[in-house]
Every structure is written in C-alpha cells, then in structure tokens.
C-alpha cells in the first residue's frame, strides 16, 4: 500500500510525549496501553466511516498530534475522545485537499471494477481461508462466532438473547466478545487471502 504523504515532523513523537499521553489515559501503564489501543481502533473506524483511505496512518497521525498537544501542556476540557475526534476531523479534511489522495482514489476504484469472473474465485478463497483461520480459534470462540452470527432479523435477536443467558453475559458483553473474535478472524483471513493470492499469481 502507498504511504500517505505525511511530513516527518508530523509523524515523529518523542518517548516523553508518548509516556505523558499514556499517563493521561490511565495511571496504570498496562491499562493505559489497552485504552490507547481502543482509542486507536476507534479512530481507524472514524476514518473508515468517513470514507478515508489509509485509516491506520491517519489514526496514528491523530494520536501523535494529540500526544504533542498534551506534551505542550494543552488542557483536556471534556475527554480524550472528544479531543481526538476534533483532531481527527482536521486530519481528514487535510487528506481531502491532498492531490496524491485523489490519484490513489482512482487506483482504489480500478480495484472495485475487477472482472466478474474473478469474483467467484475470490469468494471461494475467502471461504477457504476462513475455514483455515477458524481451526486456529479456540473451540469456545468458534462456537460463539457461529452461534452469534447465525440467522437474521427477529430469529437472530432471539438467538442472541438465549446465547447471552446461557453464557451468563449481558447482550453488550456478548457482542464485544463476538466482535473481538470476528475482527481477529477477519485479520487472519485477510492475511491468508493475500498469501494465497500471491502464491496463485506467482505460480505458472
């Protein structure tokens, strides 16, 4: 993937500034690390839902700017999330103005317009990879993901209530658990598809 053209100054962050940022998130470094990852995930989603490209890099850029602001002594009036969102919106607006971003969009669009005969083959590859990745998940989480995402509409809602009651979890806790497993599986499947596609194209 092409890197977003961010200046070196924008990307660099001193360890002191980063430590100060973590301390704002939580006094316990382990808890702070977890909160940092959660915040990063949320920012990636923000950029994704805004339709931006290179969401990971834009999220990192947002976090770096936030850390620098904290290091420079900026007071956090509401909460870290609110401040991050404000910065993220600026970062997003900047990407819209960048000419290289438009060029990449064209490249992205050409990927959407793949010939239809490739699509079915790709579908199979994703399914094959998902089966492989499911074997690497614990039995408990495998059962959870299948039960959680079965059916649709009313039946799905009822099933989830039954499943939550059986596991002694609230519906929100059940969703978080299923979602974590789903996200991990998607990452595993994406890596697997990339690996297999590369092998397929390299073979004669």
């Amino acid at each position: 993937m092409e890197k977003a053209q961010l200046s070196r100054k924008e990307r660099d962050l001193t360890p002191e500034a980063f430590t100060k940022f973590l301390a704002i998130l939580d006094p316990d470094p382990d808890v702070a690390g977890g909160k940092y990852e959660d915040l990063r995930r949320q920012l990636i989603k923000f950029f994704e839902w805004r339709g931006a490209l290179f969401q990971d890099e834009l999220a990192d850029e947002t976090l770096n700017r936030l850390a620098r602001k904290i290091d420079e002594g900026e007071e956090i009036e509401k909460n870290v999330i609110a401040l991050s969102l404000g910065i993220a919106r600026f970062v997003f607006l900047e990407t819209l103005k960048r000419p290289d971003n438009r060029r990449t969009e064209m490249k992205e669009l050409s990927a959407v317009a793949a010939p239809p005969e490739r699509r079915e083959e790709d579908d199979d590859l994703w399914t094959v990879c998902l089966r492989e990745c499911l074997l690497g998940v614990s039995d408990e989480n495998r059962a959870l993901i299948i039960e959680y995402y079965q059916d649709e509409g009313r039946a799905r809602i009822d099933d989830r209530k039954i499943l939550a009651a059986r596991l002694g979890l609230s519906l929100n806790a059940l969703f978080s658990r299923a979602k974590r497993t789903r996200d991990k599986l998607e990452e595993c499947v994406t890596r697997c598809v990339k690996r297999k596609s590369k092998g397929r194209h390299e073979s004669p």
């Binding site: 949320q42 989603k45 923000f46 994704e48 839902w49 339709g51 931006a52 490209l53 969401q55 509401k78 909460n79 999330i81 609110a82 969102l85 919106r89 992205e108 990927a111 959407v112 790709d122 579908d123 994703w126 399914t127 990879c129 998902l130 089966r131 499911l134 074997l135 039995d139 495998r142 059962a143 993901i145 299948i146 039960e147 995402y149 079965q150 059916d151 649709e152 039946a155 009822d158 099933d159 039954i162 499943l163 059986r166 929100n172 969703f175 978080s176 979602k179 789903r182 599986l185 998607e186 499947v189 994406t190 598809v193």
Partner: protein, 194 residues
C-alpha cells in the same frame, strides 16, 4: 434522502455516507464518547454487512450499500469477509433437524457437533457415503434373512408334504401288494380245485 424515523435509520444513513456534515459530526460526538453507543454503531455495521452478504437487502438498498459503503478497500474487505462468514455459518447450522424454536438452532451447533466435520466438507461426503453403505448393507442383510426364513419355511412345508405323499404311496403299494398276494392265492386255490 429518506426521512429518518429511528436511531437505527440514522446509524444506517451514517454508515452509508448519507448524512450532512452537521448530522455526521453530531452523531460521531454522541456515539464515540459512549462505549455502548459506539458498540451499537459497530453492531449495525456488521448487521448491514451480513444482510448484504446474505443477499437480503432490497435492490435499492443494495445499490445504496454498494455506492455509499463500498468506498474503500477496508470496507470491501469487510464485505468479502462477511460473505465468507455467512456462508460458513449457514453451512454449519444447516445439517441438523428442522427448527422448532429459537433454542433448537443453538442446539444444532452445540458441543455435541464436531466442528471439524463441517469445517472440512470434503470429508463429509465419504462419511455420508459410508453411512449410506452401512444402512443399505443392514437393509440387505435384513431382507436376505427374511427371504431365507421364508424359503426355509416353504422347503420344510414341501418336504413334509413329500413325506406325507411318500407315506401314502407306500401304504397304497402295500395295500396293492396285499391284494395281489390275495388274488394270487385265490387263483392258485381255484387252479388246484379245477
């Protein structure tokens, strides 16, 4: 844009990029600062993806989704993954007995079912074929046994009948032999007298 009736509609419009900048910013401020609300956004996105993957969106909604949602590679990756997930989930939950209630669906994929069975469909076919062969074999043995029993019974009946006929023939032969002997004795006596 359609009128927004519920929070769910609002979220869907957000995910499809159909809100104004002001509406979008308001929704983000509200939903990103509350963990439960943020989870609701993620859940709505997964549900939308799964409905698309299962082909249950209407033609118009499908078009909206493809135009408004599939706008970058990460989102297309979500869609491809959702297709694979719904396919594998549907396969895993299909083979069991017909559904009677919500709980029945849960039971289908419960601990009793071997996940490796459905994760490797090529292995399922020989197992099914083996079961079919065993059932057919058992049926053939059962039918063969019944046929043999019937045949044995018939043969026994025929044997008994033959024995009875043989006994009758033997008795008839004895009677006739006695009559012949009587007639010979009678003939000899008449010849001696004459």
């Amino acid at each position: 844009m359609d009128r927004i009736h519920t929070q769910h509609d609002l979220i869907e419009h957000y995910l499809l990029g159909e809100l104004s900048e002001a509406e979008r910013t308001a929704l983000e401020d509200e939903y990103f600062s509350d963990v439960e609300k943020y989870d609701r956004l993620c859940k709505a996105e997964d549900d939308l993806l799964d409905r698309y993957a299962r082909g249950s969106l209407t033609g118009a909604d499908r078009e909206r989704f493809e135009r408004g949602y599939l706008t970058n590679s990460r989102r297309r990756r979500h869609a491809m993954f959702a297709k694979a997930l719904t396919k594998v989930v549907d396969e895993a939950t299909r083979p069991a007995a017909p559904q009677t209630e919500g709980g029945a669906r849960i039971e289908r994929v419960g601990p009793g079912l071997s996940w490796r069975t459905w994760l490797a469909p090529p292995l399922r076919v020989p197992r099914f074929a083996l079961s079919l062969t065993l059932i057919t074999g058992a049926l053939l043995i059962g039918l063969g046994g019944a046929w043999l029993a019937i045949q044995t019974s018939r043969l026994r009946a025929r044997l008994a009948e033959s024995r009875r006929e043989s006994e009758t023939q033997r008795r008839l032969a004895e009677t006739q032999a006695r009559r012949i002997a009587d007639l010979e004795a009678q003939y000899k006596r008449l010849a001696d007298e004459g």
